[in-house]
């Protein structure tokens, strides 16, 4: 199949269709409106259903219902709308219903700005809703990666019976880039029998979708298995790009659009002899611990957390891996102001120069 020029929202939406997504419900918000717009004509073409809900709350609950009927379902929004969906996402996790949720993120807090930002990192990775559940969080940095991650998202969600979250900034969501879409996939629906209410007639009592859980001991048992699932993620499901870190003295850490600028800066600085590399988490949760722990800390002079978020949010995850073995510097913007390549390059250079005294 030939390469196509599409925007980030359409990359996700078309890839979802090809992954077998047949239900979408959502409520408009910039900068993700291309997703529902695209689904509104694309889903009926493949026998799917598109609903523009009366609100975010209604939409996430429609996804809950469709997914509980065994359909591959998704919703999308941006920061303020994701907050409204929090209750429904927690219910999906609580009843172990797989679905995919996309956040094309913008400046915050509050109504914030419609311009791109990465200020929903903590929300996405630590607390998408109440009750202490987590999801796998994918953070694409190119539109091809957005296509590939979306295509696989339901496979993870159904394997784990847990929602999967895609966090992509509004810059990637609205820019156009060349992608190659995968073939249409016909997912195996027999594997959905554990939660699919359409098929639940002949399954065991324990296979039913339940919420709430009585007695409490059952819920604790569930939470223990959820905990074990998260440990399996950390072991098996980490996706990361490591770029020139083997001999690096300084290591930029960035994801999504920020990582594109960071990589450009690393390439430029390498040409000038600076020993700098990049760790780019592709899964924000599970965070790529091994990439940090395999480093030789007698050589590493510092990390540069590079985010479109002030205060920096990913920093706490970097801190938890670095454990004081090297200083963590920051270069961040926020509120809808994007990086520009020259500024990232010159700020990295400044940080390195000041940290190491002689520049190299």
């Amino acid at each position: 199949m030939a390469k196509e020029l599409v925007n980030g929202c359409i990359a996700i939406a078309e890839s979802a269709v090809r992954a077998g997504c047949r239900f979408f419900a959502g409520y408009p918000i910039t900068p993700q409106n291309h997703i529902p717009e695209y689904f509104s004509h694309r889903l009926p073409e493949v026998g799917g259903v598109f609903v523009q809900g009366e609100s975010e709350v209604a939409s996430i609950n429609m996804v809950y219902g469709a997914a509980a009927g065994g359909t591959r379902a998704m919703t999308s929004s941006s920061g303020p709308g994701i907050s409204l969906k929090a209750e429904g996402i927690s219910y999906l996790a609580g009843t172990q219903i797989p679905a995919v949720i996309v956040n094309i993120s913008r400046g915050g807090p509050g109504l914030g700005s419609i311009q791109p930002a990465q200020q929903d990192y903590l929300q996405a990775t630590k607390a998408l809703g109440h009750g202490g559940f987590k999801t796998i969080v994918f953070a694409p940095a190119t539109l091809q990666e957005a296509v590939d991650l979306t295509y696989s998202a339901w496979d993870y969600a159904e394997r784990d019976r847990n929602p999967v979250f895609i966090l992509m900034d509004g810059c990637l969501g609205n820019m156009m880039e060349t992608v190659k879409f995968p073939e249409m996939k016909e997912p195996d629906r027999n594997s959905t029998s554990k939660w699919n209410l359409y098929r639940a007639k002949d399954v065991k009592r324990s296979d039913r979708v339940l919420s709430p859980y009585f007695p409490d001991a059952i819920l604790e048992m569930q939470n223990k298995s959820r905990n074990a699932m998260m440990k399996r993620w950390a072991e098996n499901d980490v996706k990361v790009e490591e770029f020139m870190i083997d001999d690096a003295e300084f290591i930029a850490v960035a994801y999504g659009i920020a990582a594109r600028s960071a990589k450009e800066a690393v390439i430029c600085l390498r040409k000038e002899g600076y020993k700098i590399g990049l760790i780019r988490p592709i899964t924000l949760n599970p965070f790529p611990s091994k990439s940090f722990n395999k480093l030789d800390y007698s050589k590493v002079k510092g990390f540069i957390d590079t985010e479109l978020a002030i205060p920096a949010q990913m920093r706490i995850d970097i801190q938890a891996e670095v454990l004081g073995r090297a200083p963590i510097y920051e270069y961040c913007r926020s509120g809808g102001i994007l990086f520009d390549d020259e500024a990232v390059y010159s700020n990295y250079k400044k940080i390195i120069t000041e940290a190491s005294g002689n520049g190299i």
Partner: protein, 179 residues
């Protein structure tokens, strides 16, 4: 080679369409392209800007600080973004809106009365395509005439008659010479 083009003007002048058409033409001819739109909440009248980057290689970052070519469709955009052009770069200006702009040392400035040209063709909406024509003959080497013509025909052939007016506008832009 990585080439960065910025197009800016007022919402409604076809800034985004021009950017997408150029990016599509680059992709049709086998190169990589990134198109990055920037605009505020206004649909019409606010400043609209887009960046198009083309390269034979992988495009690492789309957040370029400086551009090789600026296409400015109005005065505001010209004053705002002329500083973003790399030394030796090209500025193509819609002189119907800005008046004749003065030369700046070390830059190539091309004045094109795009609104006058498009009006004389009978449709002011194709001013953006006139400017693409001017880009093709500017020597900026972002996109070739043949590939742009092919993309325009493909894009507009389904809309009756609009391929013709767009091609006329493209050729008028290509053939325009400053007096």
């Amino acid at each position: 080679m990585k080439k960065t083009l910025v197009i800016s003007g007022s919402g409604g002048q076809g800034v985004m369409s021009a950017g997408i058409i150029i990016a599509e033409a680059a992709v049709d001819s086998g190169r990589n392209a990134v198109y990055l739109p920037e605009y505020g909440p206004q649909q019409r009248g606010g400043t609209a800007k887009c960046t198009v980057i083309t390269d034979e290689e992988e495009i690492v970052s789309p957040l370029a600080s400086k551009c090789d070519v600026l296409i400015a469709l109005n005065s505001q955009s010209y004053s705002k973004f002329k500083k973003a052009v790399k030394p030796g770069g090209t500025l193509i200006v819609n002189s119907s809106m800005t008046g004749q702009t003065e030369n700046i040392d070390g830059f190539k400035i091309i004045n094109v009365p795009a609104d006058d040209i498009s009006s004389s063709l009978g449709n002011i909406k194709v001013s953006n395509i006139v400017m693409i024509g001017a880009l093709l003959s500017s020597g900026a080497d972002i996109i070739g005439k043949e590939e742009m013509t092919k993309t325009l025909v493909q894009k507009f052939s389904s809309k009756s008659g609009s391929a013709d007016i767009n091609l006329e506008a493209l050729n008028a832009g290509i053939n325009y010479r400053e007096k």
